[in-house]
Amino acid sequence: MTYKTDEIWEDKWVNTTCGVCYCGCAAKVRVVNGVPVKIEGINESTMGGDGPGLCGKGTAGLMYYHDPNRIKKPLLRTNPEKGIGVDPKWKEIEWDEALDIIATKMKKIMDDDPNKILFTNQTMRASDGPHNHPYFYAQAFGVKNNGNFIIGGGSLHCGNACHMLGGLIHGAWSIAPDWRYTKYVLKWGSSKGTGSGHSAMTNARLRADAIRRGIKEVVFDPMGNFAGGKATEWVAILPGTDTAVGLAIANYIANTRGEMDILYLKAKTNFPYLIREDGTYIRNAESDKPLIFDSREGKIKEYDDKTLAWENCALDGEYEYKGEKVVPCFVPFKEHLKQYTIEWASEISTVPVATILQVAKDWVDNAQIGSTITLEGKKYPYRPVSSVTFRGSQGHSNGIHQVAAIDLMAQLVGAEDVPGGTLGWPAIRRAYPGGNYEQTCKAGKDGVIVPSVFYSHDPWPVHEPSLPATNMGCVDVWTHCTLSHIPYVDEMEYIHEKFGMKSKPEMIFGIAANFIISNSDWDTAIKNFKDCFVVQNDLWVNETDQAIGDIILPDVSYLEKDCWSSEIDAFFFSGSPSHENWYVHMQQPVAKPIGESRFFMDVYIDIADRCGVLDTFNAKLNDYYGVADPELQIKPGEVLTWKEIGDRFLQWIYGADHQKVQDQGYATWNKAIEDVYWRWDIDTRCPVYMEYLIHDRRAMENIFEQTGFDVEGLEFDLDQYSPLPTWFWPESHKDLDNEFDLLAFSYRDILHTNNTTFQNPYIDEVSKMCPYTFTITLNTTMAYERGLKDGDIICIETKAGVKETGIVKTMEAQSPKVIGIAGQGGLWADGRPIAKGKGANFCKLLPSKLKYFDPIAGNMETAVAVKIYKV
């Protein structure tokens, strides 16, 4: 077997960025005679896996290029009827015609009311490229905020609550353990370091070293699979009950053991802030700043008073301010925790008392409160414990309280953004030496951190809920939503009517999103979106395109994409949480675009130009990258391709090295240790006591009263607007009864990113080798008791009568009260024959009534009460 060298006229490697999931690992592609034949990681970059490592789905990415099912020309629906199972009767049309139809329509709607245009994208770069740009793009059309964005990637299963608190606590999109120095990690419904989550392979590489070093990793999860199956200890827990265990552990730390990092609490949280009876801060009347009692001087001062030393911020006592009785908010907080005993938590979560107690003990013992570590000559508090969560635990109607409780443990021992603790997935991005693009966070109102860059909105400061609602997502009312849930809510029309939402959406402009099948109940999604004119840039005709798409534009895959910007704003999205070099990778075209496909950024520009808003868009780009050099700015009237813009902006971003970076396809430079462990250097305080929710509650109550909104009928749980992390039953548990006696939940499979990966034949092949990917998992004993065995076909049915069938696979490592479904299978689009019929669809089982969504962050309840039976 030899290589036939005489027939090869080209054999090269091209550096780029993996586009198969949202992590964007460094990737290089071997191209022979113009054909991409192999993908590996880049040895010289720390971005992603070890050395030239890449995970299986990234390695399989080749097939995005080779798939004959890719659309090659714009498609126009000729059948006006929409819906699942209706043939759209596609007609191929020319680009010019397609863009003409789109621009005419968009312009007309824009002139009437830009809020009638919705935008969406997929946080997954087989197609989606620069992360933030769709948001400025929408703004160029006059769209105000993220309320016009309908979630299209990981869907609302993803991270609204996590992102909200990630932003408020860490100034970052997400969190990760400090694998380098930690000794004890708690993971709650998260697979960070074991295949999923952000910077998946970066984390996996760091975790593997940590595990070899001998750290303990305890995973609370309904199933012991990707995360639990690799943990040093897997603890079976019922979905949505993490709050209970978290609060019980917090109670143990604060009240039973009483061992806390007091200086941290005084200096880095809002616990010393004085509150009055009703729980709100007292504030200085002039500066509006919250106040703290200085225990040395016996005086009440503004929280950032220069004469107030950290150690003198009182955490206890009772004081008087202008005739009002006031206390540091830590006082009621600590008291509140007392109700949460370990026995109580055990009953709710099914985790044995002894296990919770052991974890609580190990947590405090490993926290080494008071210890320090010297790194690179700098002394830091050393807190080698980390508690992290993501999709699993936060995807519940009590999502905010879940995340808050899990974070609380780390707060109490001061393990935030210090060596060994929980790190923001990064908050800071320094400029390339000699370059100009830098993003740093700062302290905002009340000392809370303001993230430098966020994906869709600003977590802080939050505006108060107000009327009227101006967009489909009603983010005027639901202010904490990263992306809003309202577009998927069954009572949407009622909500719109009550809240005076006048901008009924008429058009959706999307990028490869599959929002019809990837959120909750499909019928509701169809109902809420079918009247829109739907344009998508896509690689294939996916389920959403087939059900409601009007024009589908062929997009390039990441392998054909020339995207200089792909990672520049993604330091907060693909960065390493650890003390490793900064890196930024570009997407360089590896092969020629398939058919007539065009990169959506260029389509964006073309349409903006046709609609007369290109100058506004360009100005926003200048602004986002902070391009101050007039030579390099895009000037009014200029129509540049995305690549041409890059040729200028890269000069700004990388200075003299821009050509080198461009040739290499990535840049990597030194990260200072201070940029990793910044907690004690940046003067901010974590709003652990969520005072803002009291104000939100009042505003919500007002709105409801004013509008006659049927709070009771819709079962909207206002009590969750509580400043204290509190136990609330997740909505799915309330539905459990004798008949619907199981909770269905879903989890991320290492092989799959949402649903696009189901169309990849390499991934398809190995998915069949995983016992769980395409099947429905049941606990072995539970299955036996119900007369079920491996290979049986079962039907899952919800109270709403939604059904899904699938093949049973039993596993020991699963709570006997749940059933598990991986990823987003159960697909049916004709445009993706490999994906068609694979796996089971979990999303459609989720009910879409408002009560199933977290009332604050809009998280979807991602467990559902079901019954199962053999068919």
Binding site: K768, M769, F774, G791, I793, T805, G837, K838, V871
Partner: protein
């Protein structure tokens, strides 16, 4: 609904004949397929034909019956040999199989068959070929050829179903038993009624030894180890049950027994001799099929 269910399985885990889903491969006991599925049937037939051909040759030696030699020789070489060659991926390189007699049982088998072919031919063409030296040499060669298939299988440690000590005795007796039956039928056709009847005592003996060996083989494999037991279980799985019951129990054991009892003591009848041959012929094919089809590999993951 039932159509839908079928589709679910078909789409997600299209059956590939292995009987296990891809995620069970080498995790559950996994079947041997190369030597029975698809073109693998050639190998099954090849082993069978060389066995019965040599069996016929062997028995014919005792009767110094040349047509038996000729027919046996032809069956072994033409049906056995050619079918075996047809099974190969590169039939024109078949000669290379003589290269590794020191380690490869298959290679040794080729040498033996070669010797059988050459010496057999010599014996058939030389007058006075039935001398004692020739007979002994050819007898031994016949037994080696008969057991060649099973000997090749027995050395495969990876398939514990084939390592039972009963494999060789069983294969020899099946060759001899069917060879004897074939010769008996030849005598029927040759109108040598006396010989036919006289041979019946051998038929009775061979049948019972054959039956005994079969039982011992199954018993031994069942008790040899867990994987052997899994193989035996597989014989009764849905997929193989019918062949096991009809082929092995019915045709290899029960029907010949009935016929043998009817003809007990030499009360032979041409039709019944024919019927019995047909039955053991099909029965032995079934036995071999089941033995090959049910051989499973030991899983690579230890569960407990």
């Amino acid at each position: 609904m039932s159509k839908n269910i079928h589709e679910l399985e078909q789409i997600m885990f299209p059956p590939d004949g292995s009987g296990v889903k891809p995620y069970e491969w080498m995790i559950n006991p996994t079947r041997q397929r190369q030597w029975i599925d698809k073109q693998g049937v050639f190998l099954w037939l090849a082993f069978f034909f060389s066995e019965i051909g040599a069996g016929l040759y062997f028995v014919s030696l005792f009767y110094q019956y040349k047509p038996g030699l000729v027919l046996g020789w032809l069956i072994t070489l033409i049906l056995g040999g050619l079918v075996h060659v047809a099974y190969l991926g590169n039939p024109f390189r078949a000669w290379r199989m003589i290269m590794k007699p020191n380690t490869s049982e298959l290679s040794r088998g080729i040498w033996i068959i070669g010797a059988f072919a050459a010496l057999g031919l010599l014996q058939m063409v030389t007058s006075g070929g039935f001398n004692i030296v020739f007979n002994v040499i050819m007898g031994i060669l016949c037994l080696l050829v008969i057991s060649h298939g099973f000997a090749t299988m027995k050395v495969i440690r990876a398939l514990p179903a084939w390592i039972s000590n009963m494999v060789l005795p069983f294969s020899i007796i099946s060759g001899v038993w069917i060879g004897q039956q074939a010769l008996q039928l030849m005598f029927v056709f040759g109108g040598q009624a006396e010989l036919v009847s006289g041979m019946e005592v051998w038929a009775e003996a061979f049948y019972f030894i054959y039956f005994l060996c079969l039982v011992l083989y199954v018993w031994g494999t069942w008790h040899a180890n867990e994987i052997g037991a899994a193989s035996i279980k597989m014989m009764l799985s849905d997929e193989l049950k019918q062949i096991t019951l009809i082929g092995v129990v019915g045709l290899a054991v029960v029907l010949p027994l009935v016929l043998t009892l009817i003809m007990w003591g030499g009360d032979t009848n041409g039709f019944m001799v024919f019927l019995r041959l047909a039955s053991v012929f099909a029965g032995d094919l079934a036995v071999r099929y089941i033995v090959m089809k049910s051989a499973v590999y030991k899983p690579l993951l230890e569960r407990s």
